[in-house]
Symmetry: C3
Subunit: 350 residues, 3 copies
């Protein structure tokens, strides 16, 4: 085995293979502040220990997307260092709160492999589980990536595609404290589960321009070492011509922007599906709008769930986009994110 | 009430109205490190727990300007989201030390309203009080901003301007520990209250160039969501043509630069008046000079106060500026800040 | 003495002179997170409290280079503010682990002075010792810098050059815990002392592009106030034409890149010699390769030391460089760093 890790190729994976990703990561106050600085996130639960305590937490828990990036970042060097494209996510769920001081780590099982007919690449389906230092599950996700073959043209004929759910199942147990009190003068929003309607669309007014230092600081913080995000010299010799922004940063910016309209939806329960519709580069200004696609009652009486679709845009305002796809079903060139996810929001009548 | 907060317009305010700003903010070590990274601040009290303990603190307190930004940032979404201009500050005072772990929040009372004769806008005068989680007052300020009207041309005739002090009153109680020991080999300065003279001018030698990521990281960290600072796509269609730097960041940079000359003046007691004389953009290099305009004796024998005026400059060295205003009383185009504030400095003979 | 510190000139130094550098610095979690964000560092010992505890630490210790920058930065204002060039380092050693919460400070003795024959400058040789709040030595280094004279042409004839070791002596006591367990699935590397050979070369595959905010945030974080790094307005009137990147940041980037190949070499024992072969500017992409130049057995049976040479490159891949110098012994223009240092790595057979 070489001392240099050049990542795995399609042929290196086998179904049932388990990978313990290196670099467990202790999360600190520094990560939390950087996340706010990098995204402008304003969800109150993640900003204030006092508010979090009023809501039944021991202190403010981590923003779900920050936890996602710090945990998920571990898998890049083993799974997607030689990826051609991140094709999709499914059944992503956020199981338990994570706090500053926790150490997160990730393990992955290969659950599917499909060789491409061009003989140059294949699709790898993985199931990853993130845990904290006590072994509690904090992240559970499936994703599939197109990966280069080492030996082009040598065919194995493998074609095993796993069954994936269209939406992440919702469990009867949800690990957030019973919400006795929600202080709306602190959260910045007066709207609860009952106030949202299926079909409703929220055009979030903020736009955030991302500079090269912003997205590279974020991706380095997550110890995600995919070269396309960092190495401008290499990227200059590709059709892209410059560093590509980490798609996860676009999700975080869109989520941060969605605060203005979803102020009390402070928890992500699950990501059902996600597409990075077009690449994003330094200098792009990200906007977003959100549509409510389903209202989901839960056995718990204090909360409900909203399945929503957030469309991320670059250099185009939400009010200028009616449909993210054209008549041929192709994403408009300014659409950068199509995220189908489920958020938790308190009920007004708890 | 819409779920989207588009900010308040002139007609939305009434005299006596009280606003509890959302998003209480727990301050962390991450905020402190980011502040040093973003400003290059070197005042010793805020750099070292050991030094702070020698001076009678439990640990290093927050830099006053960092506390200001984190607390003040809360008011933007309610007061100045639709502001045309921040016209001024008065009677800004810093009452009690703030530490990592504290949670700060802000409330505001509307104390004056003056309709502009053009029918398009008006001036809103506010009095804001910031507190920590124990209810101790940490920030007290008045400011006035010009705000758009929702309905142009509809006149209400309101014209109520509050009385504002020319300088922040100095109280007999000042909440800093009695300074038994000041270790000048640690603070980096050998000069005390007795060494400064009215009329003395300090040309600070450092210049700091601000890039777009620097000022946008700072402003997002403060959860200040004024769009002019973040949304380059929007700003391209304005006469400015690009993102405007948050004026508070310019104050912080000027304060940081003033270390070289005011090393032992580690506390801001008050801001008496401040003007952002010209806009600042990414790529500008900030310089500063400070004039001592008043020496103020206090009943406490260990400290004195200096009322000073710091002039912030862009792309022009202090030694090249005699007067920040031209013969017509207009600020030179390279002047970006005119800050009249009062700092506390130990006496040599304590 | 002026209130403005303009730094020392050649004539201001005398042999035997001792300087206590101001601004002791308490290190926080924020510094650690920023360091990861600024460099992409992935050495496991500095990422995870859990892993550090398994290896015998109370929690994750600071990355050696982060400690170096935070401590060393203190000396700039007294030693090298008027430096023309940092000429070299010798006998740099890292004595004891440093943790978040520690406060570091630095003292320097002048050990040599050599006047240049041009009458304009001289070389100052210094010996600096960094300590934590308990007085434990954490850093010990010698360096020499070329410094401007105040009065050009006035000759003193001083010519006292200290003896410097070609390599930092290796002590029998090394303050790292006895390594009972090294979890390679967490560290990301399976290679130990026994696996490396003298003459072996590792071409690290990652390249990291540095933007202006990246290197200026780093340097401000370290409270290093050398103007060449911050003041673009001033630098525009120099032959460089723009801000120069702090050489220490290049070392950190090269060290971070070297993770891929040296995953288990988590400790720097010493820096034997270092040259910043060419300047680095914003926009440059840094690559690196490492050659093993000596394998050093230690009386401790659990560890060995590797003396290595890391060559940092800008905008050129390691595989495109055979020798960092041309036939005349001059560094190639893309070579930015030539660092001879000694790292500690566990033995497989412990």
């Amino acid at each position: 085995m070489s001392k240099i890790n050049r990542g795995n190729y399609f042929e290196d994976f086998t179904i049932g293979q388990k990978i313990v990703h290196p670099l467990p990561r202790t999360i600190s106050d520094g990560d939390v502040s950087l996340y706010i600085a990098l995204t402008g996130s304003r969800f109150a639960l993640h900003s204030s220990d006092e508010l979090a305590k009023e809501m039944g937490y021991k202190k403010r828990p981590l923003d779900d997307m920050l936890m996602f990036h710090l945990t998920f970042g571990k898998s890049v060097q083993d799974i997607s260092l030689n990826a051609i494209a991140n094709l999709g996510y499914a059944e992503v769920s956020f199981k338990n709160p994570v706090y500053v001081g926790d150490t997160v780590s990730l393990e992955t099982e290969i659950i599917g492999l499909k060789e491409n007919s061009n003989g140059k690449s294949g699709v790898v389906y993985v199931h990853s589980i993130g845990k904290n230092q006590n072994g509690d599950e904090i992240l559970n996700l499936k994703r599939w990536v197109m990966v280069h073959k080492k030996e082009k043209g040598v065919m194995s004929g493998i074609n095993s595609i796993p069954t994936l759910e269209k939406s992440t199942p919702i469990l009867s147990e949800i690990n957030i404290p019973k919400l006795l009190h929600v202080n709306t003068s602190a959260t910045g929003g007066e709207h609860f589960f009952e106030d949202y309607e299926v079909g409703e669309r929220l055009n979030h007014p903020e736009g955030i321009t991302i500079d090269s230092s912003d997205h590279t600081l974020a991706t380095k913080l997550y110890q995600n070492n995919a070269k396309v995000h960092f190495d401008d010299f290499m990227m200059k010799s590709t059709p892209m011509g410059e560093r590509l922004m980490y798609g996860g940063h676009v999700i975080s910016i869109a989520r941060s922007i969605s605060f203005n309209g979803l102020q009390n939806a402070m928890w992500i329960y699950a990501i059902n599906a996600g597409a990075h519709a077009n690449p994003t580069y330094a200098g792009d200004t990200i906007y977003a709008y959100t549509e409510v696609i389903e209202k989901i009652e839960h056995t718990r009486e204090d909360i409900g769930l909203l399945r929503v679709r957030t469309i991320g845009l670059k250099n185009m305002r939400p009010e200028d986009v009616e449909n993210p796809k054209d008549e041929n079903g192709k994403y408009l060139k300014n659409v950068v994110l199509d995220l189908d996810y489920t958020i938790i929001i308190p009920k007004e009548n708890r």
